[in-house]
Symmetry: C2
Subunit: 320 residues, 2 copies
């Protein structure tokens, strides 16, 4: 009788692991270093060994294990193959269930880390109770994870949910990392907010605390909270871009909720206030019921979502 599942989140510096019971309560969580040497050839063996050691420590047999879910930083197809490798941990294309099965014979489901984190937020975080949800990660870039009828959408080449690269501004002259110009990420990521701030500050000499010290997304929202008018204008521009972008996404997949996470979201509810009116303004009327919510699981979203791939029996991805 399967009573447990492991959730694994492979990151660039550490691999996070969690042991969950069948209800999705976390019983234990820990980290191991991500050893990227030799094209990261030891990462999955290290994961397997760490899981086997934990099973031994807790007295858990293979029969009691429903399986292992794993989020990895790259596009994963329905067979669990990391189709394009994962450049930031050195991986070439490889089949993840196959590699783990060399060590432990339980069902394995792998998926892209951003999608897995989205799945975690749906299951136990800001999207709890919803089965149609878009997770938006505002970090160095802007990422997305789309869940339809309770399952992650991966798309035909694993690139579904790349909402950071929606074209949103025709007048942009600087290039995005993707080589296009005017992507949402250029305005709504942490670095995008700094760009918006620099541009606003250069427009005139209006006093602002942002003219002193290091510019950052955090500094902008701290200044907003202190009532700084220039900072509020910057946040309004951010909100216009993100609201418009989310409205577009909403017209395509019609979610119940957008769950906003990533470093920028630590600004809290005040951030949502700048996005909400713009989202509602640009949304197609039948899509206007959509809610905005903050992500709740932080860095644990990945291990929750990975365990959820096993415990919720998500029909995507389909490998085992």
């Amino acid at each position: 009788m399967a009573k447990y599942a492991f959730g694994v989140d492979v990151g660039g510096t550490t691999v996070k692991l969690g042991l969950f019971d069948a209800d999705g309560s976390v019983l234990d969580k820990w980290e191991i270093p991500t050893v990227k040497d030799n094209e990261g050839v030891n990462i999955l063996p290290d994961v397997a060994k760490s899981i086997l050691a934990k099973m031994k420590e807790k007295g858990i047999s293979e029969e009691e294990l429903a399986g292992i879910g794993i989020g990895v930083p790259g596009a994963v197809d329905d067979a669990g193959t990391l189709v394009g490798g994962a450049v930031n941990i050195g991986w070439k294309p490889l089949n993840i269930p196959q590699q783990l099965h060399a060590y432990i014979n339980v069902p394995v489901k792998a998926a892209n880390d951003a999608n897995v984190a989205a799945f975690g937020e749906m299951w136990k975080g800001g999207g709890k109770g919803c089965s149609n949800m878009v997770a938006v990660t505002l970090g160095t870039g802007v990422g997305g994870g789309i869940i339809v009828n309770g399952a992650i959408i991966t798309g035909s080449t694993g690139a579904a949910g790349e909402i950071g690269h929606i074209h949103i501004e025709d007048s942009e002259i600087e290039e995005c990392g993707c080589k296009n110009k005017g992507c949402l990420e250029q305005y709504a990521s942490a670095t995008g907010i700094v760009r918006l701030a620099r541009r606003r500050l250069a427009e005139d000499e209006k006093p602002s605390t942002l003219r002193e010290g290091q510019l950052s997304a955090k500094a902008v929202f701290d200044a907003v909270k202190a009532g700084d008018q220039v900072a509020i204008e910057i946040a309004e521009r951010f909100g216009r871009y993100l609201g418009k972008g989310l409205a577009m996404v909403g017209n395509v997949v019609n979610p119940e909720v957008f769950v906003i996470g990533g470093g920028v979201s630590k600004a809290g509810e005040i951030l949502l206030g700048f996005v909400e009116p713009e989202l509602q303004k640009y949304a197609f009327p039948p899509c206007r019921g959509v809610r905005l919510a903050l992500a709740e699981l932080g860095n644990d979203a990945g291990i929750y979502g990975a365990a959820g791939l096993i415990l919720l029996g998500s029909n995507t991805p389909q490998q085992s």
Copy 2:
């Protein structure tokens, strides 16, 4: 042993019906009038009677029937309920399988007509062989149907795929039918192309055959084929808007193919040539493999798709 299925497409003037074998070949197709009197209360009984008469004519028993698929002009939830009614045929909210079951006891699956037509194009038309597809209907408006992993996406309120109302132009001053300004539909529908043409013609006095006779989307593309330079400029503007809009949709759901149908698409391959470069330009690089194809089933897409709901065992919608 189930050998047959019926596909039904309820339109504003006629109901189209088709009898299909288990492989999805159409054995017979016909139409009955849509009787909209008394809030359309006779429409579903008429459908049931027409199906029962056809079964009698062909000597088909209930046991030989896999079921009835039906496309209706409104949003349908997973239980087969037309949640908001269907204003253009007079229907109030109603449960479609329940109503048909009063006459015939076989599985019934109902879905929105645009989504059903998309499903038909995936199964037997321009998207054949694909399981991730977006169907785009360029008619009086711009409609969309999104298929992910072989299933129609309906969204949380049945409004998924409303790509005609993606915001695409900040400078628009006229209102769309939805009351927003700058929706894709204002440039890429048949009426949108006429608007683009009027605006272009008003810009200068450059000679064009479009200055004579009735302006229409067909007239624009006929003039394009005849080498009319002004018409070509209009088609380029159309292509820029539609290409940019489809690129956004592509970044969200990452389909293999966009299948372009509706009256405007009768212009043929030449139309795709105006859209393709703009789609590729604005698409996120990993999404650039997406193809553009013309719809192939015309007015029969609905009956094919409806039969496909039964014969392909689509997991959406889930009622029976």
